[in-house]
Symmetry: D2
Amino acid sequence: MIIVMKADTQPDSPELSQVIQMAEGYPGITTQLHRIEGATRSVIEIYLLGPTGVVPTEPFEEFTSVERVVRVTEKFRSIGRHGGGLEAVGFDYNGVHFSQENLHVFPGVCAVDEPHNLEDTFKALQENGVQTSRAGAYKPRTSPYDFQGKGAACLPWVFELAGKFGIRVIAMEVTHEKHVNEIRQALRESGNATGVMLQIGTRNAQNFELLKVVGQQTELPVLFKRGMGITLEESLNACEYVASGGNRRIIFALRGMKTNLGDPHRNFVDFAHVPVVKRLSRLPVCIDPSHSVGSRAKSPEGLLDIFNVTAQGVIAGANLVLVDFHPRPEEALCDGPQALLISELPRFLEDVQIVRKAYEERVKRTALPD
Amino acid sequence: MIIVMKADTQPDSPELSQVIQMAEGYPGITTQLHRIEGATRSVIEIYLLGPTGVVPTEPFEEFTSVERVVRVTEKFRSIGRHGGGLEAVGFDYNGVHFSQENLHVFPGVCAVDEPHNLEDTFKALQENGVQTSRAGAYKPRTSPYDFQGKGAACLPWVFELAGKFGIRVIAMEVTHEKHVNEIRQALRESGNATGVMLQIGTRNAQNFELLKVVGQQTELPVLFKRGMGITLEESLNACEYVASGGNRRIIFALRGMKTNLGDPHRNFVDFAHVPVVKRLSRLPVCIDPSHSVGSRAKSPEGLLDIFNVTAQGVIAGANLVLVDFHPRPEEALCDGPQALLISELPRFLEDVQIVRKAYEERVKRTALPD
Amino acid sequence: MIIVMKADTQPDSPELSQVIQMAEGYPGITTQLHRIEGATRSVIEIYLLGPTGVVPTEPFEEFTSVERVVRVTEKFRSIGRHGGGLEAVGFDYNGVHFSQENLHVFPGVCAVDEPHNLEDTFKALQENGVQTSRAGAYKPRTSPYDFQGKGAACLPWVFELAGKFGIRVIAMEVTHEKHVNEIRQALRESGNATGVMLQIGTRNAQNFELLKVVGQQTELPVLFKRGMGITLEESLNACEYVASGGNRRIIFALRGMKTNLGDPHRNFVDFAHVPVVKRLSRLPVCIDPSHSVGSRAKSPEGLLDIFNVTAQGVIAGANLVLVDFHPRPEEALCDGPQALLISELPRFLEDVQIVRKAYEERVKRTALPD
Amino acid sequence: MIIVMKADTQPDSPELSQVIQMAEGYPGITTQLHRIEGATRSVIEIYLLGPTGVVPTEPFEEFTSVERVVRVTEKFRSIGRHGGGLEAVGFDYNGVHFSQENLHVFPGVCAVDEPHNLEDTFKALQENGVQTSRAGAYKPRTSPYDFQGKGAACLPWVFELAGKFGIRVIAMEVTHEKHVNEIRQALRESGNATGVMLQIGTRNAQNFELLKVVGQQTELPVLFKRGMGITLEESLNACEYVASGGNRRIIFALRGMKTNLGDPHRNFVDFAHVPVVKRLSRLPVCIDPSHSVGSRAKSPEGLLDIFNVTAQGVIAGANLVLVDFHPRPEEALCDGPQALLISELPRFLEDVQIVRKAYEERVKRTALPD
């Protein structure tokens, strides 16, 4: 059971204490306090743990500072909205705020290769005012004989370069629990020059042991990519493995589904699920247009499909965009053909901005009242 | 082989005659003239029919009024762009222009039921300046024991009402060739009070005999809905059955694909294919958000999923939106739960307008040059 | 409601009359008599039509000659087993008996081409004691520019050849209602030299208008192929369109599902559904190994995949096998690469026989009691 | 490049030495010897490692004791047949021989629960002459709040019981690399009372880090279950991660694919791929009928679907059958509804035997010559 306090309730408010006291008066019940930071207001939630089945909701609803009392269902216990009663969970990491209400673009390289390529990439980001990026050091590949990523060895110079160009958060895939420690250590050794969001790739979406590991540390946030051949509900269940470990700083990412019904795109673009994930869960939603589309194909109007599907995610309220850029795609060791050029970055950002503005206008003017 | 003339070439230009004469000088070659009406310019195309394999392109390319010469490939012979060499085929019907460049919204009832419901619907359309609608008289249903539509009997009053409220084009599904004649006759008997676009439903996407019939008449345009379990390429091939019959006034409609990977939506929304269909074919592209989503679920921002996926289609350049409305969804004999309310029409149209404006800005500012 | 009489009940039995009389005593109830011909016994079923909701079952169950009373549910009303209470519906056509209990092989050509090829095929069938075959005169093809079948013109010589070699039933696809009449007329003109089972192809599985037409005639039985992108339940619902028209002589055919998860086979082989269709419906079940596999690939043991998947259908109780043979695959106008050679027919039939024998042993020795 | 020696070549044959010497004479080439143990003969293969692109095949083919020389392609480098040139790789483990030619049934519990249930299971196996079983200690579950398995704690008594009842190999899923060590240690501590085949579940089919770990040890064989939403080719590629680590004792398991096209079965049964895997790879092929079907549904003949799909795998040459049994399904902590009863074991084994005999007859009588 979760008791949501009204927005103006202070952490030291006497009513808050009374509510907690009443809750803990029921046999076997303990409480936890969570503070949800939204864009315009912050909210305190009191979690009741233990045999809550017999705890009534009415006594709590009578407090004037209680907004509502929500019974938590089994489904998506930690990340769910439980029938709409709960707000999204925003969070701050390394100076960047993530929520279901704002938008960050993460342009970057699919796989780290040479320092000069990463330097050119980060430099372009800085010039365009972008502080969030992607850069893969560990690459899971379909065949064992393909390039598997630069690994831990590249982390020192990756983080140093990131710091140099003001990158605050890098999304970086991990495929083994030891990668988490390698990244944490390298971050510390870089003097925390930047921050890292641990990315769980689609192939590991049901690698529950790895999910537990990234869920049991709370230093680094987690970017969870939905699984390929499973339903959205099963992916959200898998995401619970992260949250149930204690780490609540999670982003849910859509990256297309593997089925030939989506041809000629590499994957069947699933960004119509952006509002669905926002409705079912409290997590900010990320889209990955590059891996969904998988090519630089262009519409007759001159808009790349990657631009178009990005626009489709953003117009429906996506909160993060993970997108492949490369200064020299011909040198890329992985997925070069789908990379956008550094010279296309301003155009891409302008495109996103046009669409985001339209999204905001939609929310203001055409959203239905509750 | 198709010879595309420059935009300012007049039908009576001497060079045009010379080109035709030269073409018909090759053994066994005959020609056909097609005029493509675009938003800003119209183009004349000369089709060379016969053994064109041995006809060279160079002599034609030397004419100053020839823009380009395109070799037609097997794939999507009539509707394809053949490597980008051909422009989209726009067309006029009953005073409405359709093309890959503009946008029309077709709000209406999934299935015709009672006159007062249709009257309320058409009246609302007129009040909101909409002249295009949908209204199903023949309904293919999964079970033979479900309501199968009002049939030919309702056509007279449907067309009369349409005329009364200034509706110029109604999209109407046909499932049997006799329906085409019934509609044509009822239209005539109504004094052509309105116009009809023949809709081929997803279940009949590979009913080649029906496709031939609607393709062999040229009075009414055709709205072809892609098939459920087949690839996009196979649906475009099926669409060729319409075009190869002679009718070139075709719209290609996306309506979601049937797979549980799209749950909880009724179908997996496939509007990322909007730019793909525009790239591969010369046809205007329609989206059907109602049948894709199948419910009135709403995002936390208060935007219905139907609004959101419509926005996703429009932001990527969709040309038609087929959307279910009903003044009294509880009286609807089919798909009531997914219908928008008549009172929501202004909001829906405003939403579309916001997004269309953003799309146009994208084309102007972020499209890549050729 | 259906009242199933005990197996030894005679059509002129006094108790049968009493049951009917009692049934028709309820307000608004009329009755129909159906005789189900099984391999070892025949059963009389009395259908109660009208407002059966208020008719109790108990009074009927008290008759000693009543085996059971089954309430008919909406789902698969005509073809369903309604919870197991009803037996399969076998039928005779042109001297051949079809049921869920026996097995017929239909080797033949995918598409009729030249008389000498069909003659060689039928001759081989006769030499191997086979009286059932397939031969397509009307071919629905993915592209309108592919060979579309010989059409009505070939029917006279096809039927004459069939008669000459003792073929009693040919499975023949129809894609338009006029084909049904063309076939019936040609059959008559051939002096009913053979019989035809009307095949509904997978692309027309939800062409409800065509299903109604073949369901409203009762001269020719129907072979219904499941739809490609729809669930088994939806295909069974479509099959109801045939049955609800009055024609109860229906075979349900499995032919693989279109999804790349089945690669490298042409379709995802779905013969695990053989027992499912037998459980849910009263229809004999056919398998089409040729279109499922789509190639002559061979296992290391030397067994063609087409042989192997046939064996998989038969070992689970399939009742018909529709399989492509061709005396000269290089001359085939359609699907030549998947055709078996006439010289392989004896081997194929022996393979089927080995497996069918094992199936029968399984039923005898390892089936569970009710 | 692989040089396959004739079957009667002895390891100490002088020609073998000459072949090796010639091979190592090419610059940068080293060799490895592998001995393939088939049912009726054993074969020596010489692997050439290094820059084999410039090594000609002719000089080797001239040796009378060389059967053939096979150029290894990228695709399925270690596990592939490379165009049919290589035989299957059989292997022995703990006294049991596995190959593409024989058949073992692994009846057992999905998840280990109480000792008395496991004891009853193993006892029944012994009474029926079965020495191979399944028993899950580590269970990956869709939700983190479901039972996750007894873990390492149960291993001592599981192995002791296995030893007591003569079980030689238990298939046991591992989801974390530490499980491999826990199992190896517990085996040693049990005095190697039994053996374990490490099972990689479908959710970890592309958990490449785990695949590397089980591939880099050679003590225990690996049972690899194909991934859910990926193609067969991608699953075989993933399997290469095991083989490329050095462990060649691998079984490839089919367990159905997740798509609603397979409804009402839990997964779309994919056993038509049995001969495909045998053709593409050198690995023995396992089927898992319990997880494919997911229920105890029964055909009208009285054959459980689980029996039927098992029969479908076996009739096409499956080499292992992994099947859930439970003495008290109502006590099962996982997948009870799909478990067969211990009392059904003799019937199941007899069913398998009937079908295997038919398979062997097919190979003898209806297989095509090369």
